[in-house]
């Protein structure tokens, strides 16, 4: 059955239009057969014309994964029916001319229209915004802009599959070095079947002159998306990376199990920002993305820095803990997060800061907003190892509760093995104060605007970590996500 008609049918059956990005692109896709076994892993690897070492790595992961059956993480607060991993497609790619697009002109115009609807007109961005976009559509990267300009600086910014061909040494050196294939159930699954993603390498001494950006989108029905991103900032380099996610509306749940690995060497810095707006399901909790993601960075070098910023408004379930391993002396890890759950959304998200090197510092600012029947959990670990002399952590977790049927939870783990460390953790949970609402309304704002103003103020510390245009988008998303939650 051609996917185009199947997907269109799905979409026709969905009523309502609250989710702005809930359209499906009508193009033919190339599928691997449904289900998962070694042949599928081989199929994916062959499709991508991968070298043998990568196939072997995938197979190792797959075999490990089969040994993990029924070992899906159960410790988080999220609840969902069991996932049938055999009832999904593990590879889907738009069908196109065999060699893929050489330039934007060769990209399927239907795809480009998709991006326009998403608000990322590639051409315009190329010209106006100075944002280089690597767009991942279902499983393969379809267009990369700005590549040439970056190439002049020696920066590699390309689809993961291309990096495997063009920069196999770098990929082989770093792939799995931060998140090993055996890390956890979903990361292991990803290692076996990952489809595509972004690869970034910033050479020594180079400051990437523009924001690098990727938009992920799950389009075809019944496909899991398993992208894999690897960013390496060599010594004395800097890069800021932005990731946005949307997916069409569907009744069934879809799995998204990505892995992101970051590595910084001496004096290097990576800023990684995510705006996650996958389809959250409808008002009754039907459908939506299961967003089970492993993101981790390693500050390998001295004075290096990794900063995660995330705005999580989408997905039926979010399960992710962007973490930093602070190995290099004086290295810095940051985590700034806004997570919103409305209707029946669930989020269990937070971070791990592992202090290994001397004088390592970390900051965690987490803002959780729960409305409707949403459940929002901050779960975080701050671990100071015996050698991490002078380590510092500051953590602040605030929960805002809107309505009496939601939940906001805080689960911090603090483990200190060095007496010179200083770790401070604070958390609060409350509803929006009636006094604040009244004050705003006395100045003429209606209830919804008043809530919006106060909630945005609540998230300010996180939003100000985003580049301006993304901060504006994040604010809008927040308003949309909370629509109808007050009144």
């Amino acid at each position: 059955m051609a996917v185009s008609s199947e997907t269109l049918e799905t979409v026709r059956s969905v009523t309502g239009g609250e989710y702005k990005y809930g359209f499906v692109t009508d193009i033919e896709s190339d599928f691997a057969p449904r289900g998962l076994n070694e042949d599928i892993v081989r199929f994916i690897s062959a499709k991508k014309e991968e070298p043998d070492w990568l196939l072997q790595w995938r197979l190792k992961a797959y075999r490990f994964w089969t040994g993990l059956e029924h070992e899906e993480p159960k410790w988080s607060k999220v609840q969902h029916p069991p996932i049938d991993f055999q009832d999904a497609y593990y590879y889907a790619a738009p069908k196109e001319a065999k060699d893929g697009p050489k330039s934007l002109d060769e990209v399927d115009p239907e795809l480009l229209r998709t991006y326009e609807k998403l608000g990322i007109p590639l051409r315009e961005q190329e010209v106006l915004a100075g944002v280089a976009v690597d767009a991942v559509f279902d499983s393969i990267s379809v267009a990369t802009t700005y590549k040439e300009k970056l190439a002049e600086l020696g920066i590699v910014f390309c689809p993961f599959s291309e990096a495997v061909k063009e920069h196999p040494d770098l990929v082989q050196k770093y792939l799995g070095s931060v998140v090993p294939y055996s890390d956890n159930f979903y990361a292991t699954l990803n290692s076996a079947v990952f489809s595509d993603g972004s690869f970034v390498y910033i050479p020594p001494g180079v400051r990437c002159p523009m924001e690098l950006s990727t938009y992920f989108r799950i389009n075809a029905a019944n496909t899991g998306q398993f992208e894999r991103t690897l960013i390496i900032a060599d010594r004395d380099s800097y890069v800021s990376y932005l990731e946005g996610c949307t997916a069409p509306m569907r009744d069934e749940n879809q799995l998204h199990a990505a892995v992101v690995e970051l590595v910084t060497h001496d004096n290097a810095e990576i800023k990684y920002a995510t705006i996650q707006n996958w389809y959250p399901g409808d008002k009754d909790g039907k459908g939506g993305i299961y967003n089970f993601v492993t993101k981790r960075g390693a500050c390998r070098g001295r004075n290096s820095k990794i900063s995660w910023t995330q705005v999580e408004t989408g997905s039926a379930i979010t399960w992710k803990y962007p973490s930093v391993i602070l190995q290099g002396d004086n290295s810095i890890g940051e985590f700034y997060s806004v997570a919103v759950t409305n209707n029946y959304q669930q989020a269990d998200t937070g971070t791990k800061m592992i202090h290994i090197g001397k004088n390592t510092r970390s900051t965690i600012i987490s803002k959780g907003i729960s409305a409707g029947h949403g459940q929002n959990t901050y779960r975080g670990l701050v671990r100071v190892m015996p050698k991490a002399k002078g380590a510092r952590n500051y953590t602040q977790c605030d929960s805002l509760l809107i309505g009496d049927s939601c939940g906001g939870h805080t689960v911090p783990y603090i483990e200190v093995r060095n007496p010179t460390a200083r770790v401070e953790h604070e958390a609060s949970a409350s509803k929006i104060s009636d006094d604040q609402l009244f004050y705003c309304r006395q100045r003429g704002l209606d209830l919804e605007d008043a809530v919006s103003v106060i909630v945005n103020g609540f998230c300010k510390e996180v939003f100000q970590k985003l580049p301006m245009e993304f901060a504006v988008e994040a604010q809008k998303l927040l308003d949309v996500s909370l629509e109808g939650s007050v009144g």
Partner: protein, 455 residues
Amino acid sequence: MTVPAHRDASGVHEATCKAYLDRFAAKRAELPGAGLPWLDAWRERAIERFAEHGFPSPRLEEWKFTNLSKLAETVFEPIPSAANGISREDLGGYRLEGASDHLLVFVNGRLRPDLSDTGAPGEGVTVTGLSRALEDDAEAVEESLIGAGDPSAGERASALGQLNAAFMGDGAVIRVAANAQPERPVHLLFLAHADKEPAGMHPRNLIHAGEGAKLTVIESYVGLSDGPYWTNAVTHVTAEKGAAIQHFKFQAEGAGAFHIAATDVDLHENAAYTSFVMSLGGILARNEIRARYNGEGVHCALKGVSLARGRQHLDTTTRVDHLMPSGVTDETYKGIVDDRARSVFRGKIRVAPGAQKTNAYQLNQNLLLSDRAQADSKPELEIFADDVKCGHGSTVGDIDAEALFYLRARGLEEREARTLLIEAFLGQLIDDIEIGPVRAMAREAFTGWLAGLDG
């Protein structure tokens, strides 16, 4: 969601578990209240559950930071022999001289009426030993035990609580009649003198304050020997409507002792409960308090200090369930950790759906004094209502170098300055104890501990 219990697969634990099952089979007829059908069945069910779960493993979230494998290596004789040599003179400073009318002294888990003072009647307070109560008024005990919830079922149980239920020896039964407000505290003194064998004590205390009643109770656990023994205590506290209970506990077990204590607290409408735990004894100790707010307007203050040195492992675990609106929780636990010791805090506050107007705060602070000292802290909030004010704070650090310098610049010697700052870290918590003799006892213990610092 709770993680399913994993049975520890190690052969040592299996053998220990089996030894306890065998002891139970052999000695059940000698246990207090043997022959009471409900109690026999209750103990039976408990030992079965213990057999099913075994010793909790660190893979269980509840025991993540506290590893019991050392405890599980030894079989602690669950019906220990009495140490008859102890006389009134030996009680010495452990008594609260002049402060309490009611003193129950337990030696190796058994009530010693010859060392105890049951106090003047007529204040609306009755204080008896559990073993005695099972003889005199088994029905009332049954009601208290069953009323406090089946200890061998549900979330409040742990495998060790089940072992206590199976071997429950003696303990205190304290009842305060409605509106009775005895002036002086009831003091429970648990002495351990285990020089012959590793003794396992499983005391169980039942404390009940009727409507509008007031009670102050002090539990002391004191080791008279340094050899290994195990206190596995369970205490049930019930405060009826408008009742107020102050509960102090001193844990000063012997150097080789294991101390595991669970206190279940049921609080009804407008009840007030204040707890202060001072923990400085034992090689491994865990004080667990589980409080449930069954009525509106409950006030609960949970405070405590842990003073750990050597290779001590001191664990404070609290769980507070706001089941009804307008409850107030104020928690502060502080730990000072020296040498290779470790302090653990796990505190969970849960606000149930509908428990609006809850106001809850928990604070955990740890001061690390040596390179190999460790602290773990896990304050946790689980909130299912919106009109609440909840929060927590947790800090870990060493002595503030600037403050130390400041004091030395004012002429203090480093050792003095350090002691002063350590004292300042938790002195206030002790000063806030309302009952004079208790405050004095805590102060003395703290001063004694400070004197033992290496400097």
